[in-house]
């Protein structure tokens, strides 16, 4: 067996308790180990990506129990890509948290951070539906700690809402899994796929209920429209570097949708045919619309970034909901882009928030306005999907993949309209924050009304501003690399899509032909 597969879960799982128990009072050592862990995760993820790129699907049987009875981890191209994205996001975020001093504002930031990474990578690698639930809980419980990191009345209140909403989601997840188990008698994803295909269509009322419940759970995680309420308040009130890490958490929802509804309830399965795509597509379009309008209407830069994340999830899920190989390839390219773009926007928002408060109103200029303004400009271009950055390529791919679909005019209109509103909203926010601040008359007039209510956070000065900027530039470089190497990247995502739409390989790899 290839023991590398479990390494991305084991490494943070060992590191986090070590940081809590041994390095409890040594912040410097915590930082060293946390960064080293993130670098190690990156190295492991690179190894896994290289192994998976051959197209072979590898499994890891925990405790050496054979597949349908024990829990398996599965490494295919999709899970390797998602683990890679997690690692590539984790390193800049942890560097930023150190550089901006966020990790000094409460205890156990680094331990929680590692637990979060463990949950996310585990969710991407597992091949068992109940194990997916367990890893969801691992990443959620770490995220509760991270979300309320630093404390404060408003953040804690937002934390209560966030925890409540996610506990509801977990309960729903258990109901869905219970329903599926009652019908099929298994929870291994590959085995589920076999059993679901065997059930005659007239006996599948309960199965369809389970499929839709499961979709609801993943839609909560992915912040799809009617279930997105938790996201703006939670992300805008969380420490913004943490929100940047959470950019991968919404992707966990998208990943699960993609995995479950290609493998188990795939496009060929008669019982659930059209059940998911028909619901998901309009919801995704509404998500994009609401995200774009939210960007336009946001009065606070944290909320602006949160709605940006929602809008990019909308575009991503439009592509996912088409369930064709090209659209899935486009969706995966856009996943990589939107992870980096949303994280970048959150980090910039944090820089602005630390220097002048988060309100989108003209105020007297802050330190390093020029530099921050130019990075905001870059992140706005990426978020809105303008050339020359990867958002443009991603949107182009999504629209190209939607060309042969029935409602392609509607889809194009929503994507283009959404991009336009996003551009307007980001331009408005950018000019109010960065340009109008240099206009003395404008600032004076506004200051009388607005200044007293927005007291800037009593933050300690950034210990290593250079490190914070460096980590932001790493994300910018990631976006640039994604644009420059768009050719190889789309080829790789095309390979992923091909693998996803041939689920038989996955099933034989997991079950080793024992079913036949």
């Amino acid at each position: 067996m290839n023991h590398w597969i479990i390494a991305p879960i084991v490494l943070p799982a060992i590191l986090a308790p070590f940081i809590i128990m041994v390095l409890r009072h040594h912040l410097d050592l915590q930082r060293v180990f946390s960064v080293a862990g993130s670098v190690g995760l990156l190295a492991i993820a690179a190894t896994l990506l290289a192994q998976a790129s051959t197209g072979e699907i590898q499994t890891y049987e925990l405790g050496n129990w054979p597949a349908p009875f024990g829990i398996v981890l599965v490494l295919d191209r999709l899970s390797a890509l998602m683990v890679g994205l997690t690692a590539m996001l984790a390193l800049p975020v942890v560097l930023y948290a150190i550089g901006s001093g966020w990790d000094t504002r409460g205890q156990h930031f680094h331990a929680l951070f590692q637990f979060q990474l463990m949950g996310v990578t585990g969710a991407f690698l597992t091949g068992d539906a109940f194990n997916l639930f367990v890893f969801f809980e691992v990443l959620l419980i770490a995220s509760y700690g991270l979300m309320t990191h630093g404390g404060g009345a408003v953040r804690l209140k937002a934390g209560v809402q966030y925890v409540t909403f996610n506990l509801l989601g977990s309960t729903l997840f258990l109901f869905a899994l219970g329903t599926l188990y009652a019908v099929t008698g298994t929870l291994n994803m590959a085995d589920l796929a076999v059993r679901v295909a065997e059930i005659p269509p007239e006996d599948t009322a309960l199965l369809r209920v389970g499929a839709v419940l499961l979709l609801l759970v993943f839609a909560i995680k992915a912040a799809v429209l009617p279930l997105h309420f938790w996201l703006p308040a939670s992300y805008a009130n969380a420490p913004l570097p943490v929100a940047a890490l959470f950019a991968i958490m919404t992707k966990v929802g998208a990943y699960s949708i993609l995995r479950v509804y290609t493998l188990i309830f795939g496009p060929d399965v008669a019982t659930t045919e059209g059940l998911v795509g028909d619901w998901l597509l309009p919801a995704a379009m509404l998500t994009l619309a609401v995200g774009a309008i939210g960007i336009l209407g946001a009065r606070q830069i944290g909320r602006l970034a949160a709605f940006g994340a929602i809008a990019s999830m909308g575009t991503l899920l439009i592509a996912v909901s088409l369930f064709t190989p090209e659209a899935t390839a486009a969706a995966l390219y856009y996943t990589a882009h939107s992870t980096f773009a949303a994280a970048l926007l959150f980090l910039i928002a944090d820089m602005v928030m630390e220097r002048r408060g988060g309100a989108i109103i003209p105020q007297s200029p802050m330190a390093q306005t020029g530099l921050i303004a130019s990075i905001f400009f870059v992140s706005a271009i990426a978020m809105a999907g303008m050339p020359p950055l990867s958002g443009f390529v991603g949107k182009l791919l999504v629209m190209d993949a939607a060309r042969h679909v029935d409602h392609y005019a509607t889809i194009w209109a929503v994507i283009l309209g959404g991009s336009f509103v996003t551009i307007v909203g980001l331009a408005r926010a950018g000019s109010l924050i960065f340009w109008k601040s240099h206009d003395p008359a404008y600032v004076q007039a506004e200051v009388v009304n607005e200044e007293p209510e927005e007291a800037p956070a009593p933050a300690a000065p950034e210990p290593y501003p250079g490190l914070a900027f460096a980590s932001v530039f790493v994300l910018v470089a990631g976006l640039a690399a994604l644009t420059i190497f768009a050719g190889p990247a789309t080829k790789y995502t095309g390979g992923i899509a091909a693998q996803l739409f041939a689920p038989q390989d996955y099933i034989t790899a997991v079950l080793k032909g024992e079913k036949e």
Partner: protein, 116 residues
């Protein structure tokens, strides 16, 4: 027995959802606990209800047994929901202590937006 069991799950779920829709933290947490009880009972029943039967597979087809897997799942679910409830109680307590109110919604001014 099935009807009794099913209606118990239904009543627990309904009561849980009703309480979650309240505006104060305490009933919301109570509602979440009721909901987790409901889902635990539900999971327990997914292996079919069998009385006085051992949870072990055995060779004799005529001897009844009960499915052991849902019991393991319920155990996991109980542990997780118990831990989560403890976490939300702690967060809600510190939110109450720092803001002196246990209303679940954010104060509008501090939310800094006109959302929802």
């Amino acid at each position: 027995m099935e009807a009794l069991f099913a209606s118990a799950v239904g009543v627990l779920t309904a009561a849980g959802i009703f309480l979650i829709l309240r505006r104060r933290t305490f009933p919301v947490i109570l509602g979440l606990s009721l909901l987790t009880y409901a889902v635990n009972a539900f999971l327990f029943a997914t292996g079919r209800l069998a009385l006085n039967a051992p949870p072990v597979l055995n060779n004799y087809k005529e001897v009844a047994y009960t499915d052991p897997l849902p019991q393991a799942l319920v155990l996991t679910a109980i542990v997780i929901s118990f831990g989560m409830t403890a976490v939300i109680v702690m967060i809600a307590l510190s939110a109450y202590l720092s803001s002196k109110t246990d209303h679940i919604d954010l104060p509008l001014a501090e939310e800094a937006g006109e959302d929802e």
